[in-house]
Amino acid sequence: MSDELYQRAILDRAKSPAHAGRLEAPDATATVDNPLCGDRVTIDLKLDGDRVADVGHHVRGCALCQASASVLAEAAIGQNAADIKAARDQLKSMLGGSDAPGRPWQELGIFTPVRRYKSRHECVLLPFDALSQALGSPKSS
């Protein structure tokens, strides 16, 4: 049953997302849309060299997208473009059935129930695409 999709961990994240809101004077910004559902994620970044120093986000989307942005915003701090790309690839593999990633991305494990709902994978991946785009790295497949 899909009620299990909306476990406490995801709903708590979605209802009080970390780093929600736009940053003042960000070093980088990107907005991406999911053309299928009209969801939209904007990510603002403060950078320290090539590494993420702070994250702000505005999500117009579902609980999965909100929760994903929240987890991402916390875990991305201190990471560079290659780290984010690797994390996105791990998240995508996890949604395809692989194990959840290790530190600092272990909390992405809350999205394992999304595996069965292929139409919702994009909801979880969208914030990662926005952050990667903000860092100027090409979106991975």
Binding site: Y6, G38, A63
Partner: protein
């Protein structure tokens, strides 16, 4: 005649196939289910008469052509128009693109086409493409707060340069049925033609197209209990004859030399290539099946259920209905928002209660912008739905609200 909803529902194998799992199918505005009569017609054609149409002289070809022609006659009866004015297309989108090309390419720069702010993308994007191709001016009829076309704006929107008013007959989002008479009258006054997108109207009973006073009418098979991949464009014979063909190829020609071709008579002029024959036959069977129903009773049933939806939603905390609040001038399509909950999350949770809904922008992003929402959740009913389906919706929504809010 009477109408027994449970007897009608029993004619739809998908509900029997649910194997004890509840199936409360309330996504009929996207695609409706097919009754046994339609499935049987398709299987009968494919197993006894399958051949190409209009050209062959062998037995199967004759049978296939007769079945295809019969489908056209059946659809024509449903729409109360002559059969030779029924053009089979791939669906409403195909029909609208046909008009945007065949009729649209007869327009000149500066000519005006009027659509509305409530349209499905399929009745907006082809006109935007025409504007960019031909330099016609695209004007928008505004939308009222309860999700209807604002007919009071007709006078200031339609000018003598207007050539076509292309609007929905019933909204796929709000369920509002368009008040066609003032639109047809205003268009006539400036010499413009009127096109109705009837995709959402067609499943809710036979259509008296001549009584509407319009020039083009488009609808889809799969929303009126027929197959996907088949739809209809109707236009008066004189209009069809005046329009150049859209697609070129087989079936639509009279003679072809290496230099040029002449066209077949309407409607074949607009049916290039082998048509979706089984799908057309399925649609014909659906039209025939629908014609046998007692429509005053069916409409009463649909409206009773719609009222039950509206009443149920009013008891769910944070729920707001988008569109008409009552039963006047509407089809049984109800959109709503739930405070603090995204439509896709609502639909996912409702799916776990066996309720099939649609959430999102419903291919009507400008309408969403006008309403100030990013999307809605939509319950769309058909004649086979029951009180049980509505109650499952309301129960599931109450649960979803508690979870998500």
């Amino acid at each position: 005649m009477t109408f027994d909803p449970s007897a009608v529902r029993a004619q739809f194998p998908i509900f029997a196939g649910a194997n004890g799992t509840a199936l409360h199918y309330l996504d009929n505005a996207a695609t409706s289910q097919m009754p046994r009569a339609v499935l049987d017609a398709i299987v009968a054609f494919e197993t006894t008469s399958r051949a190409n149409v209009l050209r062959g002289v062998h037995r199967l070809a004759e049978a296939a052509t007769e079945a295809y022609d019969q489908a056209r006659r059946r659809v024509a009866r449903y729409a109360n128009v002559p059969a030779e004015e029924i053009v089979f297309t791939s669906g409403t989108t195909g029909s609208l693109n046909l008009v945007a090309r065949a009729f649209g390419d007869t327009l000149s720069a500066g000519d005006e086409v009027v659509v509305s702010g409530i349209e499905h993308h399929s009745n907006l994007v082809p006109w935007q493409m025409l504007r960019d191709r031909r330099g016609v001016v695209l004007k928008i009829l505004p939308v009222t707060d309860d999700g209807r076309l604002d007919v009071s704006a007709l006078d200031r929107t339609l000018t003598p340069r207007c050539r076509l008013v292309a609007v929905t007959h019933a909204s796929n989002v709000s369920g509002a049925v368009t008040d066609v008479a003032p639109i047809a009258a205003a268009a006539r006054e400036v010499g413009a033609k009127v096109l109705l997108d009837g995709a959402q109207r067609a499943p809710h009973g036979p259509i008296d197209i001549p009584a509407l006073g319009v020039d083009f009418y488009a609808f889809s098979g799969h929303k009126m209990f027929g197959p996907t991949g088949i739809g209809v464009l109707w236009a008066r014979r004189a209009i069809l004859e005046a329009m150049p063909p859209f697609l070129g190829g087989g079936e639509m020609i009279r003679t072809v030399t290496l230099e040029k071709a002449t066209w077949a008579d309407v409607p074949h002029k607009f049916e290039a290539g082998t048509p979706p024959i089984a799908q057309a036959i399925g649609l014909g069977a659906a039209a025939e099946w629908l014609m046998r129903l007692d429509w005053p009773s069916v409409t009463a049933h649909e409206m009773r259920l719609t009222q039950r939806v509206l009443d149920g939603l009013s008891g769910v905390s944070g729920c707001r209905v988008i569109g008409p609040s009552g039963l006047q001038g509407r089809v049984p399509v109800v959109s709503f928002t739930l405070e603090g909950a995204h439509p896709h999350d609502i639909c996912q949770i409702l799916d776990s209660h066996g309720v099939a809904l649609r959430g999102g922008h419903h291919c009507a992003q400008p309408f969403m912008d006008r309403l100030g929402v990013t999307g809605t959740t939509r319950a769309s009913l058909a004649l086979y739905n029951s009180e049980d389906d509505v109650d499952a919706l309301v129960h599931g929504l109450t649960r979803a609200a508690a979870q998500l809010q």
